[in-house]
């Protein structure tokens, strides 16, 4: 029983990372109806930036926040430069191709700049175990960080005029323009936020998976599983889904399929959701009277 609780708790910790990345994916999806395959690579690249800043001698939290800011700007720039030209066209396949291009470019650029050799990425939290040995200091810390970030994102979208405008732009672009919202900039801000969320996820997972250009591949698959489980168009569903996938991955990995086959848990979740309930657990059930 104690072992089970241990698996659940550390599952929640990694679940926080999946939840952040899943939320980033869903934010872009809500605005564009497209899944950004490069979300993980954007996070990986941001983590390399953080590593570089640390390597230059910057203190951890300084590098942490500067990286988030850079990732935000990076997200905005990517949207303006490579996504914007396709914004008004209906060519879904073109944008998907752009996503794949971004994926490859960021992946190769990171490898070319910083080498493919695995790097150790530091954790700002104490290394010993806490909570009576249930969690490592890093796991508890990352849980705290991801929960705070998710809470901030919630407060932003729920209570600020800009958050409301971003939601409006995603729901109904034409009406948004009619009330004076600059819709295309809202999309860019959405990309910035998604980039920043990804950067947090990347910096928090890097001490566990180590830093290398492909570090986010598995993480993104778990995040996709979380987003689908919660409902790809529901941000809070994605968060719940992310945590759930984290716990399931750990528990199944320990007791059912074994650690080597852990990743298959994510794939099984993805396929099960798509077959049994494509809208996910909390997929949109908007009531409309016609």
């Amino acid at each position: 029983m104690e072992g089970f609780l241990l698996q659940v708790l550390s599952g929640l910790a990694t679940g926080g990372i999946y939840a952040s990345l899943a939320l980033a994916v869903v934010m872009i999806f809500k605005a564009t109806n497209l899944v950004n395959f490069a979300q993980g690579e954007m996070a990986m690249f941001s983590t390399y930036l953080a590593w570089q800043l640390l390597d230059w001698g910057m203190p951890y939290w300084g590098a942490f926040f500067l990286t988030i800011a850079l990732a935000f700007v990076g997200g905005v720039v990517i949207e303006r430069v490579v996504i914007r030209p396709f914004e008004s066209h209906a060519a879904v396949l073109a944008v998907v191709t752009v996503f794949i291009g971004l994926f490859l470019i960021l992946n190769s650029l990171a490898g070319w700049t910083w080498d493919h050799i695995i790097k150790v990425f530091p954790s700002p939290f104490p290394s010993g175990s806490v909570l009576g040995g249930y969690l490592s200091g890093h796991q508890l810390g990352l849980l705290g960080v991801t929960l705070s970030v998710l809470a901030l994102v919630y407060l932003f979208f729920r209570f600020t005029p800009l958050g409301l405008a971003m939601r409006a732009a995603a729901e109904n672009p034409e009406s948004s323009r009619l009330v004076g919202i600059r819709v295309s900039w809202m999309l860019a801000l959405g990309w910035g936020l998604a980039g920043a969320l990804g950067a947090v996820a990347g910096m928090m997972v890097a001490p566990i998976v180590y830093l290398e250009p492909n570090m986010m591949a598995f993480v993104l698959i778990y995040a996709f599983a979380g987003a689908l489980l919660g409902g790809i168009d529901n941000p809070w569903g994605a968060v719940v889904g992310g945590f759930t996938v984290g716990v399931l991955e750990n528990v199944m990995g320990t007791y059912v399929v074994g650690t080597e086959l852990k990743l298959s848990v994510a794939l099984v979740i993805i396929i099960t959701v798509l077959v049994a309930k494509p809208s996910g657990l909390f997929g949109k059930q908007l009531v409309t009277r016609v």
Partner: protein, 237 residues
């Protein structure tokens, strides 16, 4: 008196399709002008052209400023509010959030609260439903919400696209009488597009009759109402 809105030789295009063929019209300050015409005459397109939602050519002046060809977000900032065809409410958001979005360009908190009070005063029903999802409102309530949202930006000109569409006659009367009040008390000029010609002529002071993207007839509502061909084709008696 100089017109608050003056369109000269306005053309509009949906992609390569030429829909408006040089329409000219104006709205007097504090007045209500209506555009009449059958389906496909170009009424909605004219409003969309004014708001920069379709490709246009020609000149449009709002209060002396050229606004022709400007982006929608820029036109709005001149004080032109557009209640689009089909109401265009944010269905997934609450009534209150819809109104808050209408006031997106309003940064003054005191004015914002005054405006909330003002539209809730016009439409008490919306106050009762302020926490309800807009998509769950009835058609009439959604139209009230659409008009209220437009009022939240304190427009000087209101573009109304078929406010009577799909509503019961009693609700239509309600909405039109409130539109008249808004026009008189808040000095909001209006450009009204309607299929319901008799209702529109009753509230408007000037009217233009559109046919296949051209102005066929124009004048005071009085004159248009008494025109034989209009009476036969659009008023039905």
């Amino acid at each position: 008196m100089a017109a608050i809105l003056d369109a000269k030789d306005l053309h509009a295009f949906y992609g390569p399709t030429h829909v408006l063929h040089g329409v000219s019209f104006s709205v007097e300050p504090g007045g209500i002008t209506t555009l009449l015409g059958a389906n496909g005459a170009g009424k909605t397109t004219t409003l969309r052209a004014l708001s920069g939602m379709v490709g246009t050519r020609g000149q449009v002046f709002f209060d002396g400023h050229p606004i022709g060809g400007k982006a929608t977000e820029a036109v709005v900032r001149h004080g032109i509010a557009h209640v689009p065809e089909g109401r265009g409410t944010f269905a997934g958001m609450t009534v209150e959030e819809n109104l808050r979005l209408g006031a997106y360009t309003q940064k003054d908190k005191t004015k914002l609260n005054q405006d909330f009070e003002r539209v809730y005063n016009y439409f008490p029903r919306l106050k009762e439903r302020s926490k309800q999802q807009a998509g769950t409102l009835s058609g009439g309530e959604q139209q009230m919400l659409a008009v209220s949202r437009a009022l939240m930006m304190r427009p000087r000109l209101l573009l109304l696209d078929e406010p009577s569409f799909g509503l019961a006659p009693l609700v239509v009367q309600d909405i039109f009488s409130i539109l008249r009040t808004i026009n008189r008390e808040d000095k909001v000029s209006m450009l009204l597009v309607e299929q319901n010609a008799s209702q529109a002529l009753a509230i408007a002071d000037h009217a233009y009759l559109l046919e296949t993207g051209r102005v066929m007839l124009s004048g005071t509502s009085e004159k248009i109402r008494n025109d034989d061909s209009v009476r036969r084709s659009y008023l039905g008696y």
